[in-house]
């Protein structure tokens, strides 16, 4: 039984709540709070605050359900992907629905030498699985086709993700019902960059999350700035 008369300021006779005494000890674990799961910052402070893990969970599956193909998921992920490439790890795009614009990626800070695009839709999930199993990638983003979305395929990816620290993102085709899975996180991505937490360790989110379009400088604003300078 540890003695309470630790060399801190307990010598005063002021009554101290037991709760505070225990809270001061960092060698006691009282089972109140879960140890935070390892996560990687999303790069959006507003979103980090809303997610139970404080970021994209590492080595876990995050499901994104966009309204339409290319409907905001890439802008959402770009800060995290840029961070991965800065650490020297590659990011994998498995069967993206459109062409990721290199100028936009570069502007967001992504090292283009560390971007790997798998363009064969038939093998995209297999490739994503291999990349995850290798434990070499910083992040893997997969856009499965409608006929590839099933519980077994998603489960396989999820198991592969647990081999490493890379967050795995699966973006479902718009209008495709997401299969039952044990994903750590499922987000809906609405038009205009609005997000909604559909499922997380703390249950669904309270309401839509709006990310400030901080990385968008409208041309009109640029022109005004130029005119002001002139």
């Amino acid at each position: 039984m540890p003695s309470i008369s630790t060399p801190t300021a307990y010598a005063t006779s002021r009554p101290i709540s037991l709760d505070r005494l225990l809270a001061d000890r960092d060698d006691l674990w009282r089972g109140r709070r879960r140890r935070p799961a390892p996560a990687r910052s999303t790069g959006h402070a507003a979103l980090d605050a809303q997610l139970p893990t404080g970021g994209w969970p590492r080595g876990k599956l995050t499901e994104l359900v966009p309204d339409r193909a290319g409907g905001g998921e890439l802008d959402l992920l770009l800060p995290c992907l840029a961070e991965c490439t800065r650490e020297g790890r590659s990011v994998v795009f498995a069967a993206p629905p459109l062409v990721p614009c290199p100028q936009r990626l570069h502007r967001a800070g992504v090292d283009l030498a560390r971007v790997l695009v798998v363009r064969a839709p038939d093998h995209a999930l297999w490739a994503a699985e291999q990349c995850l199993k290798s434990g070499l990638c910083g992040a893997v983003v997969a856009w499965p086709a409608r006929n590839q979305v099933n519980e077994r395929a998603v489960r396989r990816l999820q198991l592969a993700a647990e081999n490493g620290e890379a967050p795995l993102f699966v973006c479902y085709p718009p209008g495709c019902p997401a299969p039952p899975s044990l994903a750590a996180l499922r987000l809906a991505v609405h038009a205009g960059g609005e997000l909604e937490v559909l499922r997380s360790a703390q249950g669904p989110g309270a309401g839509p999350i709006r990310l400030a379009p901080d990385n968008v400088v409208p041309l009109a604003a640029r022109r005004q700035a130029l005119e002001a300078r002139a």
């Binding site: 890439l74 459109l98 614009c101 290199p102 100028q103 936009r104 560390r114 290798s134 070499l136 205009g192």
Partner: protein, 474 residues
Amino acid sequence: MRKPSLWTGVVCPRLALEAAGRMRAPDDAKRPRAAHDAIGGQLRLVAVDDAAARMGVRTGQALTDALAIAPTLDSQPRDRRAETAWLEDLALVAYGFSHQVALTGDGVVLEVGGSRRLHGPLDTLLASLDEALAPLGMTTRLGVAPVAAAAGLMARAGVRAESRDDLERTLADWPIERLELSPAERRKLAGLGLKRVRDLVRLPRFELDRRLGQGVGRYLDQLRGRLDTPLVYWQPPETFARLVELPVPVRRTEALVFALNRVLDGLEHWLRVRDERLTALHVTLYPEDQGPKIAFSAGLGQPGFQRDRLLEILRLKLEPIRITADIERLKVEADSVSGQRPPQADLWSGTNINDAWPALLDRLSARIGEDGLCGVAPKSDHRPEKAWTWSKPGTTAVAEDTPERPAWLLPEPRPCRVDALRLIDGPERIETGWWDGQDCRRDYWVAHDERGHRLWVFREYKPRDGWFVHGVFG
């Protein structure tokens, strides 16, 4: 001071039997075995196994006689090509232990005196040699002698004579038949009443030369180390190519991978002794009955040799190939560059990302194909549809600073109707291409569609007139 040389002999006592036996079906394991060859217009046995010998079958017997004695005898024609291939493999392994390797008829001899500092004491060296020979799947016997000429003899008897005195003592007790003499010389010696090597050595030299010619005397001097043995040293071939006859024609991927794995043994030795790194492997499969041959290549992103990685690539390459006929032969050729670099593991994690990443790319491209795996790179062009290209993964590229671009580009701009769009930002005028005949003038706008998605659209004036959607923000 130069170390006294020491030679190790490796012989394959069952070479003819085992080389011919590759074509045997494995379920006949219990039957006595032999190999035969045409000698003087008659098929005679050249090798018999223990089971056959117990039944009274002897080397040199006519095949018909042998079959009369032992009707279950499984005799196969001698396969000299396989024997040569096997001896080459053996020499390749031996070359890993010494640079002085010479082929004898039924094995190799190699100088190990100079390698002892590297490989440790003789026991250790012989043990590691034995271990290296095991994957060849041949029965081998080792022997040691201080001279090259005697090493093969010692190996055949399984004797280790490390010094000249040991060798003299061992040889002295041997019957003369064990020496490599021609039948004529043997007959003459028997006629002289000489039985053991001791008797031969005791004979005055001029007597020996007068009765038998100089050959026997010279051979004896070489054996005892009084005369140098002329040797033609074996050199590993410049390029690696192997033609393998499969014991049983197969078409299953696993069986083919198994056969390829055997070839990789030889390749691994070859790469090591030639100090080369593998860059690509070309495999040709020959079906039975002269069917169309199947060829495929497996390239490595980073030169090197890692067996499990290579096998996996080969398996991935084989899987999509539809093999309609059984394969009876396969040929493997290797492309390589010089400068072997052993794989190094990261001190902390035990894996090497610099080696592992190219390995992962190799595995992916083996299944997906080179085209399916790429990076995306900017190109210096003002026309946005020409300002990007698929590139090789890992290509370093820096994009020029441009005004705001959408995250997604359509592979080609698509015509759209403007009445459904709400223009919110723009225009960005792009007027370019007059120098290559693809003159264009357009205004790019950021627009909202009716569902609130941000699109990147442009109004083109030249060469065609109209509105097009080119990208999606998000």
